[in-house]
Amino acid sequence: MIPDYYEFQNSVKILSGKNALENIPFELYNLQASRPIVLTNEMLEKIGLVQTVIKSFAEQEISIGAVYTDIPADSSVEVVNEAARVFREQNCDSIIAIGGGSVIDTAKGLSIVITQDTDDIMKYMGSEIITRKKHLPFIVVPTTAGTGSETTLVAVIANPKRKVKMEFLSYNLLPDVAVLDPRMTTTLPPRLTASTGMDALSHAVEGYTCLQKNPLSDAYAFAAINLIREYLDRAVENGKDEKARLAMANASMLAGAAFSNSMVGLVHAIGHACGGVSQVPHGDAMGILLPWCMEYNMDKLGELYAQLLLPLAGADVYAATPAENRGQKAADTIRQMTAKFNKICGLPVNLQQAGVKKEDLARIAKTALNDGAVIINPKESEYEDILAILNKAY
């Protein structure tokens, strides 16, 4: 299927594999930078991941301008501004972000402050408002395999004073380089590996089915799901399996590129609301909600879900399933994955297990309705529809 019109950009250079980290100095040189600020968080520094990266710079002509570790689990405008102060004070000329979604979002926020030369990033909120005033070399080293932020055009940064989450969408927020090195994710515990893996899966499934799907995002989504089918189990069961880790890092990156261009829908709208109202970790919410939302969308998207059964379950299952059952089988396959991870590492299979209170469902539904992703979902959903999904998933 070819859309009447679409746009696509994934300009991120990917370094994937053993010793990828050691190539960062060359990439900095290639981008004409020599004094990066390293953004990360305290935990990653404590377990030695940051040292692993910095050690890989040995004997190279790179001087690190600053290592900024004070990044909380939710990126906020204060943190961005503080990092910008350090960046300017230390005369940095580039950014290396080592971490998960919040570190990478903070780095994108920092990039806005520096390139737009502003103290108020709020002015740049919205979609395609940030133009490329100057180029700030930006390298990302993901330490989880799920958010896909290394290949997305979006950053979400909280503004606690005004009690809003600011959203920034711009192709100019795409990093120059993403470094996928298996050493970066081998310490991720099984529960978090499963949870973030389900997030990557939800990006691929929604990326394959949302309004702006196109041949390029389709290819990325398909490739991501193939890798998840083959390697997510392995990465959960044996964290030291470097091949599985590298594969999942790739799956996350591919799924990120898919949904960055075709956008996410209902699963994310409800998932964000579960996080906002009841503090359900994002990946946990994805694993629970994905099959229920697929069933809700089935009359509209069944054919596309049927196509996804091939990468989700493999050729034998696909061939053995009658065409009219494939869409449902795809949802069932995902439900089985979540159930399996529940046995292995305690990933919740319903919202109750995830700690959601029954009386919060109404508030979650109302919050979800205001999430931009609802509008991108190909099937319309109103308050009652969302509440019904939440009750089923409870």
Binding site: E7, G126, E128, I129, V164, E167, L211, M263, E380
Partner: protein, 153 residues
């Protein structure tokens, strides 16, 4: 261009009218910040349309661009705007196709999109809304009532 200007006039006056008669639009507007203004512009040379929330009610302000709109929607060009303004393409589809940029809070943008959907169910005949809306909402009053309020209200 003249056609686009006419449609802008209709949308602006229409939303002002529909906000009076449709409880769902009224509810959306109630959640906007007081004194909030929203601008729609076709780049590069216009036309421009502005609505302004004043004392809890939505007012069509014509074509003068406000000082600092809380939300600004800029169509990249007239070719991308026309299918939307003439009811051939839904706003969500146009957003997904990057036909317009959006300056401000995307959450507010989504509220505006929902208002537009409701407005379109009154202003456009059903064979059009069935094509551009994923689900056609129920009307709370007749289209005629909204039309009359748009023209003379």
């Amino acid at each position: 261009m003249a056609a686009a200007r006419l449609v802008f006039w209709f949308l602006g006056r229409g939303v002002q009218a529909a906000a009076k008669h449709d409880s769902r639009i009224r509810q959306e507007v109630a959640e906007w910040s007081p004194d909030c203004s929203i601008m729609l512009k076709i780049n590069p040379r216009g036309p421009v349309m502005t609505v302004h929330k004043l004392a809890g009610e939505i007012k069509y302000m014509g074509s003068s661009p406000p000082q600092d709109p809380e939300l600004a929607i800029y169509f990249k060009n007239i070719e991308g705007a026309i299918p939307v303004l003439t009811g051939q393409k839904g706003l969500a589809q146009a957003y997904a196709e990057h036909r317009f940029t959006l300056k401000g809070d995307i959450g507010l943008g989504m509220s505006v999109v929902r208002c537009m959907y409701l407005l379109e169910t009154y202003l456009f005949p059903k064979f059009i809304t069935r094509k551009i809306l994923k689900r056609v909402p129920q009307k709370e009053v007749s289209s005629l009532k909204i039309y009359l309020a748009t023209l003379f209200g």
